[in-house]
Amino acid sequence: MAVVYEKTKLLTDKPLHYCPGCTHGIIHRLVAEAIDELGVQEKTIGIAPVGCAVFAYDYFNCDMMEAAHGRAPAVATGCKRVNPDNVVFTYQGDGDLASIGAAEITHAATRGENITVIFVNNAIYGMTGGQMAPTTLPGQVTTTSPYGRDPKLCGYPIRISEMLATLDGPAYISRVSVHDVKHIMDAKKSIKKAFETQIAGKGFSLVEVLSACPTNWGMTPQEALKWLEANMIPQYPLGVKKEVE
């Protein structure tokens, strides 16, 4: 019997603390598999965010650093500048990256910092109990938009991938989803491409991964993935937004 699929060695043995059906688990797997398949475990340093993935340093089987909320791109910059041969990635949620960390991600991108950013967009603040995020959809109910997000009061959601793609610094930006197996396979290809971009020294790479938050959306895992497909993809179109050869 040959192994068709098993858990990668780039994930530790520690059971994930995420909610049942949370797509963080899928995305962790894809990132870990990419690092494993590219053979760069011993060069890799990951930067964990503040958010549900705050304990990511317990799950990725490589050197890790915990960053303050939003600051991961700056921490990654300091780390990568010390040893440019390291493969440095950040793993950030939508509050971490698009709210408090908006300056740090913009400038890491425009500097063309040779790091890889995995941006997990689930349109809500998960860890703190379901508040509105910069990526929350108009009309979406959260604990701080109880009447549904009103663009007149709190503006429109932010499309990070398109925004960063307008800059000259980035070498690869794409948006993917993980709501079904086909999209998971595409997401993996994109994540691997992002790491390859870094390894080839081409510059800044970011993969925005549309994700579900069943708990704070108030849905079952199945309903959440369907909601993602029906509502998030129209707001956040999938595809490669920038690619430098």
Binding site: A67, A74, V75, K80, R81, V82, A103, E104
Partner: protein
């Protein structure tokens, strides 16, 4: 090395850092320390392995310091009061993660946007946290460009020795004035522990544990243990790293306590007072933390009174009072807003004390 050069304080500090092996600098422009990032931007790219980056903010800069320190490098940032306020979160994280780094604060008038002139109103911020949580930082306060150079070099060794940030506190005067400097040749210390904890890339069997640079300890019992461990380091610092300078305190009736730029002015005042027949002395803390309580307590045995002079509304005076512990009166004189006290003003204050018999 060995020759005297006329150097501006900010530039001398930057050069001293490079001599001490600092190869990474992340900073942001703010008056009155701009010459530090500017000097670093010119010098570091010419040094092997050197990297200068102007960050998008002081917040980003301190987090770049965290990342570089976590990767095992000698790294520095500099700023001035409002920028140091921005860095407080990052400093707390650097302490919690036990990372070494050097932070330079060229203090300016505050609060808020304040003024760009010299001040000493960040004493509380530097010695009473500034950032959140239980922690301490070595705070070094030079009073000349030469001393700033020596303390900056030592700061890197102290940071590595204790795995804790070290703050070098100057002010606009020390940063901007030009004085003769003999740049000491930095002797690389062989007694510092190797940075086997740094995140440099790992795989199973490579000879060390997987590095996790982190300050999150969600289990309270574990966090308590961690903080106690930090405080064991601080206890050693209190025992071994306290520094100060005393002049004419053995028979002093009135002891002036001042640091940094203010100490130089106080020294001139003290000498003039002595010439007038008033027995004045000076205690100049060089480490603001750990604070030199012992020499102050000793002076309190024979002195009549203390005068603390600061460029603030009175922050260090609290520590002087604690050290004196009620034995003798502790008075305060200060100017704030960026105003520098004059020799005459300090003399007048001590003369008043002498006259009133306090």
């Amino acid at each position: 090395m060995g020759e005297k050069m006329l150097m501006k304080g900010n530039e001398a500090i930057a050069e001293a850092a490079i001599q001490a092996g600092c190869r990474f600098f992340f900073g942001y422009p703010i008056t009155p320390q701009n010459q530090i990032p500017e000097y670093m931007s010119k010098r570091l790219p010419k040094v092997e392995g050197g990297c200068f980056l102007q960050a998008e903010s002081e917040v980003a800069a301190i987090n770049m310091v965290y990342g570089a320190a976590g990767a095992g490098a000698r790294v520095m940032t500099s700023s001035s009061s409002p920028g140091i306020s921005l860095k407080q979160e990052g400093i707390s994280y650097i302490v919690g993660a036990e990372l070494p780094c050097v932070i330079v604060n060229m203090v300016r008038g505050g609060p808020g946007l304040g003024s760009i002139q010299p001040a000493q109103s960040d004493y509380y911020q530097s010695t009473r946290g500034g950032g959140h949580g239980d922690y301490r930082m070595l705070v070094l306060a030079p009073s000349s460009v030469q001393e700033a150079v020596e303390l900056t070099q030592e700061a890197f060794d102290l940071a590595d020795k204790y795995r804790n940030p070290v703050l070098v506190m100057g002010d606009g005067l020390i940063g901007q004035m030009m004085e003769p400097v003999e740049m000491p040749e930095h002797k690389e210390r062989t007694d510092l522990p190797p940075k086997t904890w740094a995140a440099t890339g790992w795989k199973p069997g490579c000879g060390r544990d997987r590095a996790v640079i982190n300050s999150l300890y969600i289990d309270p019992a574990v966090l308590e243990k961690h903080v106690n461990h930090l405080y064991e380091k601080y206890a050693v610092m209190e025992q071994t790293e306290c520094r100060w300078q005393e002049e004419m305190t053995e028979d002093a009736d009135f002891v002036i306590v001042a640091y940094g730029t203010t100490a130089r002015i106080a020294r001139s005042a003290m000498r003039k007072l002595r010439a007038e027949g008033i027995k004045a002395g000076l205690i100049r803390p060089i480490t603001l933390w750990p604070f030199p309580a012992a020499p102050i307590a000793k002076a309190a045995e024979h002195a009549k009174a203390f005068l603390t002079v600061e460029m603030s509304m009175g922050q260090m005076v609290d520590d002087v009072k604690l050290a004196v512990n009620g034995a003798k009166p502790v008075h305060f004189f200060g100017r704030t807003g960026g105003i520098v006290p004059t020799v005459r003003e300090i003399i007048t204050e001590v003369e008043k004390l002498a006259k009133e018999g306090k």
